[in-house]
């Protein structure tokens, strides 16, 4: 990463670029990755609300919001989504944690 010179930095040590952490990839932290099994998904949005890393991609353009998948740049593979997925309790998980092949 290119370290900026003092003269190039905004004064007072502030960060004026709101939300630029989105550029920082934490996906490489993962050991396990959630696999999205779309046919089991009931689009309940539980995975989306419980994700610590805003890594559940949802399409809100239609009438009903649709779970689309995982934002792999940010997903840390914690598995909360897979644990909270309601269909999983009935044996039809829409998210399954698998060991990620690098």
């Amino acid at each position: 990463m290119n370290l900026k010179r003092a003269q190039e930095l905004p004064e007072a040590g502030i960060i004026p670029e709101a939300g630029n952490a989105a550029e920082f990839k934490t996906g490489d932290w993962r050991t396990y990755v959630p696999q999205f099994v779309e046919e089991n998904c009931i689009h309940c949005m539980f995975c989306w609300v419980y994700c610590p890393d805003s890594a559940i991609e949802v399409d809100t353009s239609g009438e009903k919001p649709q779970m689309k998948g995982i934002h792999l740049d940010h997903c840390k593979g914690c598995g909360i989504c897979a644990t909270e997925c309601p269909p999983a309790k009935k044996g039809k998980a829409a998210l399954v944690m698998v060991r990620e092949e690098k």
């Binding site: 960060i15 670029e17 952490a21 934490t26 419980y50 890594a55 934002h71």
Partner: protein
């Protein structure tokens, strides 16, 4: 007010991914959930601690709204200053047009149990007493996590922490938890409540009520910590759920002094079951340490009985 996920999901995620929280951190999730309800017209303050550190490592910030951090013990004072400035600027007609248009500007301060129960208690009390129109959120993970899992006054009895460890002579924390929520109720502020990130609907409702009330509000939110408590990273929300089912962390509100318990478990689960799943309580299950489990159960039972009485008394 979004009380179903299909509506809540339409709101912008104002905490981005790419922050440095541990995998499975329920704290980051708490902040996300708060922001989904609070919205973009929010000034957020953070005390030094996990949440402040992981969201703002220069030159990155995960905050899409304005955010300020200054020190560990003073986020309530800092935000009370920003809130006062807002009122004064508005009164004098000196607010920037974008800010002046805003109907409700939210002022939220958050701190961990370290920055709230202990070192931050004074400035929190001062800000609440002065009546600022702000919300203080404590994410209670029961220890000073960011600096290495040291004991706080919020640490449960018997829990192993790095400064009150369980060893051969000592068995973890020797005091019961401080009841901070009651201290806040005693400030007679309009709104005080407890919630957890598992109970997203409860959380969204309470955040909205807290922000809508005229004056200071306080939310104490249980924050299961996978690293500090020692449980698998995928179970954070389940640990929160069970903490309500065994009355360790009752969900309740106090609106202008009147208590409402939001959830009364039909069958209270034993606290030992919950403790068994956390490495910080592992020593409590050694032979000879049964007293610790009994103490823990007695404390939870007493706390719950007290809460029921308070609900009855204040609704009379």
């Amino acid at each position: 007010m979004a009380t179903n996920l299909k509506t809540l999901v339409q709101n912008e995620d104002l905490l981005t991914g790419g922050h440095r929280a541990c995998a499975g951190c329920t704290g980051a999730n708490i902040l996300r959930q708060i922001m989904l309800t609070a919205g973009p017209n929010t000034v957020m303050g953070g005390a030094t601690g996990c949440m402040e550190v992981i969201t703002t490592i220069y030159p990155y910030t995960a905050w899409k709204t304005s955010f300020i951090h200054t020190a560990f013990e003073n986020v309530a004072a800092t935000i009370s200053g920003a809130e006062t400035a807002y009122r004064s600027l508005k009164k004098h007609g000196d607010l920037a047009p974008e800010a002046d248009k805003v109907e409700r500007m939210n002022f939220i301060a958050f701190g961990g149990d370290g920055g709230t129960y202990d070192i931050g208690l004074q400035s929190l009390s001062g800000a609440m007493e002065r009546g600022h129109n702000m919300l203080y959120v404590c994410y209670d993970n029961g220890a000073y996590m960011n600096t290495g899992i040291q004991r706080s006054s919020a640490t449960p009895f018997g829990a192993h922490t790095s400064t009150a460890p369980a060893g051969t002579v000592k068995q973890g924390k020797e005091q019961d938890r401080k009841d901070l929520t009651k201290i806040l109720v005693a400030h007679k502020i309009p709104y005080v409540a407890q919630t957890t990130p598992f109970h997203w609907k409860d959380m969204a409702t309470k955040v909205e009520k807290a922000l809508a009330c005229d004056g200071p509000a306080f939310l104490n939110i249980l924050m299961p910590c996978t690293v500090g408590w020692g449980f698998p990273m995928e179970l954070g929300m389940q640990v929160a759920k069970e903490a309500v089912e065994n009355n360790f962390w009752p969900l309740f509100e106090v609106e202008n002094g009147v208590y409402t318990i939001n959830k009364k478990p039909k069958e209270t689960k034993p606290i030992a079951d919950w403790m068994k799943g956390q490495a910080r309580f592992r020593h409590c299950f050694k032979p000879g340490n049964e007293g610790l489990l009994e103490h823990a159960q007695a404390w939870v039972d007493q706390q719950w009985a007290e809460l029921l009485k308070l609900e009855e008394m204040t609704n009379a």
